[in-house]
């Protein structure tokens, strides 16, 4: 028995019955199975996408159970989280999983993005894969920001106040937009309620975006460290079992790290102030967002001066959102034909300088805006945009690239013969 357009048959008659009506087994096989050809030379940097997918599932699963115990009301939110921690069976485990899962999600996705930049995964024909990725990081940021407000601690409240107030920088309608976002005239119960509703909704938006990201990926399939396209069957191997087992092993390593934080340092990424209940009458001495927002927070604060008719506050907001949105046009800023940094000696250096710049931004974002941290943050911000707007366009025009290997299999055989084990 065969299905229209697919001659896949199984020894199990039940599977054949289903396959004939809904070809789900061939769909799986064509997506992540033995019928999905994958470059044979993917290194461990290619594990982070699937890891992020697993963490998304963990976040949704733990989040749904937490939502069953959480109360989205300013009078009860903080206490209901503590009730989860103290009285709900394994509530502390669910909550610490969710809390640290958020940090892990960002670590994985940031590495995933840097991998895409290093190996040119955003380049033609995978621009849409990359753009869905940028939409994903934006949706993740919105979700994480609103989730951080829910425990209704001091940082939740003041973080929400600072970030929502950014919209007041928009000319003319800014103040009205902020009132509309709050559902009132300050961050209060209506704000907490809508953030809870949206925090529950957004993960499903993320899920849909992941589907688009993967759909686009599966058209032209994974890139690879050499950046050249597979040319012959020798260049590819089936996804299953080769990459299913490699991803499973990577997942094991990641889970050891993740669980070490959950069980032995659950508050490592957190702020002590968030264990103090929100109080609109007491401002914490130093309001900071979660660590994964610090580079963008540094960019926001770097604009301390008016630019022509743009006031400093609006300038900061534009710069901060611009820092994320500029990623969406990366495929057109870096138009070099050679994808992988392995064959772009100059780009490779600028890539690492860019990584260092992002780390400097992250540190500057966590420091109080005083003393030498102001010029450091400003210089790092300037370099961030310089990298995208000047260095990358010039490099793609003038860089003398090295000759990529003949084929993926040639590269693999060469590296096996030469430096054994390196990838």
């Amino acid at each position: 028995m065969s299905t229209p357009g697919n001659d896949k048959t199984f020894s199990n008659p039940v599977m054949n019955w289903i396959e004939y009506r809904l070809p789900i087994f061939s769909f799986i096989d064509n997506s992540v199975g033995s019928n999905y050809p994958t470059p044979r030379n993917l290194n461990y940097w290619w594990n982070f996408g699937s890891l992020a997918g697993v963490v998304l599932v963990i976040m949704i699963a733990s989040g749904i159970v937490l939502a069953m115990q959480y109360t989205a009301h300013v009078g009860y939110a903080f206490e209901s989280v503590e009730r989860i921690m103290r009285d709900v069976n394994y509530g502390w485990l669910l909550r610490y999983l969710h809390m640290n899962g958020g940090s892990m999600f960002f670590i994985l996705v940031y590495i995933h993005m840097f991998r895409g930049m290093y190996f040119g995964s955003f380049k033609s024909p995978r621009e849409l894969v990359w753009i869905f990725g940028v939409m994903l990081i934006l949706a993740m940021m919105a979700t994480a920001f609103m989730g951080y407000v829910l425990p209704w601690g001091q940082m939740s409240f003041w973080g929400a106040t600072v970030i929502t107030n950014l919209f007041s920088a928009i000319p003319i309608v800014g103040e009205s937009i902020v009132t509309w976002l709050w559902g009132g005239f300050s961050v209060a119960n209506p704000t907490l309620n809508r953030f809870f509703a949206l925090h529950y909704l957004f993960p499903f938006v993320i899920f849909a975006l992941v589907f688009m990201h993967l759909w686009a990926l599966h058209i032209h399939r994974s890139g690879n460290p050499t950046g050249i396209d597979p040319k012959s069957p020798e260049d590819t191997i089936p996804f299953h079992p080769y990459y299913t087992i490699k991803d499973a092993f990577g997942l094991g390593v990641f889970m050891i790290v993740f669980m070490a934080f959950v069980f032995f340092a659950p508050n490592f990424f957190g702020e002590p102030d968030n264990y103090i209940k929100a109080n609109s009458m007491v401002t914490p001495p130093h309001i900071v967002p979660e660590w994964y927002f610090l580079p963008f927070y540094a960019i926001l604060r770097a604009i301390t001066f008016n630019i022509l008719f743009i006031p400093a506050k609006l300038g900061g907001v534009i710069a901060m959102f611009g820092a994320v949105l500029i990623l969406a046009v990366l495929p057109w800023l870096d138009r070099g034909k050679v994808r992988s940094a392995r064959f772009r000696p100059v780009y490779k250096q600028f890539f690492w300088i860019f990584v260092a710049d992002c780390i400097v931004l992250g540190i500057a974002g966590g420091k109080p805006p005083e003393g030498y941290w102001i010029p450091i943050g400003q210089a790092a911000t300037a370099y961030y945009f310089l990298h995208f707007l000047v260095i990358l366009p010039l490099l793609s025009k003038f860089e003398r690239t090295l000759a990529p290997p003949e084929s993926i299999s040639a590269a693999v055989l060469q590296s096996n013969a030469g430096k054994k084990g390196a990838s």
């Binding site: 921690m85 499973a248 094991g252 032995f264 508050n267 660590w291 966590g366 420091k367």
Partner: protein, 265 residues
């Protein structure tokens, strides 16, 4: 060769920035540092480390200090009397402790409010009816709730210990203390409304342990750390099993991976 060297330099730069980031990471948001308070010295707590657990005797002594000293100003709102059974009190002891306080019960047959003795299921009865009453009795300062204090301060238990043992009779020269304020080496800004709560003779321990300032501070901080992290022992013992399982599981996956990939080369 030049190119190779340059690549090394930029990679070293990134590595250096990463290293600085990791080192600065925990201190990135340091509030205390910016206000001139020294870093509290690390103490050897029984609950430190992956095998850590609470010193039961210290927990009970710590509860005694809370019940005899702290409770006159500080609430413990997130804990119930029944939670004391987790640190070794029997149900009868807990009933007796709870019954010492009164809470408002349901209305009587006439609809008038009645007061009743607290039960083990009741939350710890706070010393003041509300924040205003607390401020009125404390020279305008609000004594914080202690349920989460061990998590809600940078430095956690080490900071609390340093604070409790960090009072000085006199402020250093050049600093004037307003009326009712005290000098503390570790408090951000150094001026704290709380008078030194412990002095080494504050309590007479029920278990006969000699009461010194260090002993008292150690015991109350152990108790407050438990109050903020009652799940700590369960969490750490489960964590060890989870990590051990994951190491074995990941090792097996690695062996399997090597076996599958062998077919390729």
């Amino acid at each position: 060769m030049d190119k190779l060297l340059n690549i090394r330099i930029s990679q070293a730069l990134a590595a250096a920035a990463l290293a600085i980031g990791l080192l600065a990471g925990p201190g990135v948001n340091s509030v205390n540092a910016s206000e001139g308070a020294p870093t509290p010295p690390a103490q050897a707590w029984s609950f430190n480390g992956i095998f850590g657990s609470y010193d039961r005797a210290a927990l009970k002594r710590g509860y005694q200090i809370y019940a005899e000293v702290c409770v006159s100003c500080h609430s413990l709102n997130l804990l119930s009397y029944r939670n004391l059974m987790e640190i070794g009190f029997t149900i009868d002891e807990v009933k007796a402790i709870a019954a010492e306080s009164e809470v408002q019960g349901g209305p009587d047959a006439e609809g008038d409010p009645v007061m009743r003795a607290a039960l083990p299921s009741d939350r710890f009865v706070p010393p003041f009816a509300n924040d205003n009453a607390a401020r009125a009795s404390n020279n305008g300062a609000l004594p914080p709730d202690l349920s989460l204090i061990a998590k809600a301060r940078k430095g956690g238990p080490d900071y609390l210990y340093a604070l409790l043992t960090g009072f000085h009779e006199e402020a250093p020269e050049g600093m004037t203390l307003p009326d009712g304020m005290n000098y503390n080496e570790y408090f951000p800004g150094h001026k704290i409304a709380m008078a030194p709560p412990l002095d080494g003779e504050t309590v007479e321990y029920a278990d006969g342990t000699p009461a010194t300032l260090a002993q008292e501070a150690h015991d109350i901080v152990t108790f407050l750390t438990w109050a903020a992290n009652p799940e700590l022992e369960q969490r750490k013992s489960m964590g060890i099993k989870v990590i051990l399982f994951l190491i074995v599981w990941t090792g097996m996956l690695y062996a399997w991976k090597v076996r599958i990939w062998k077919k390729l080369h």
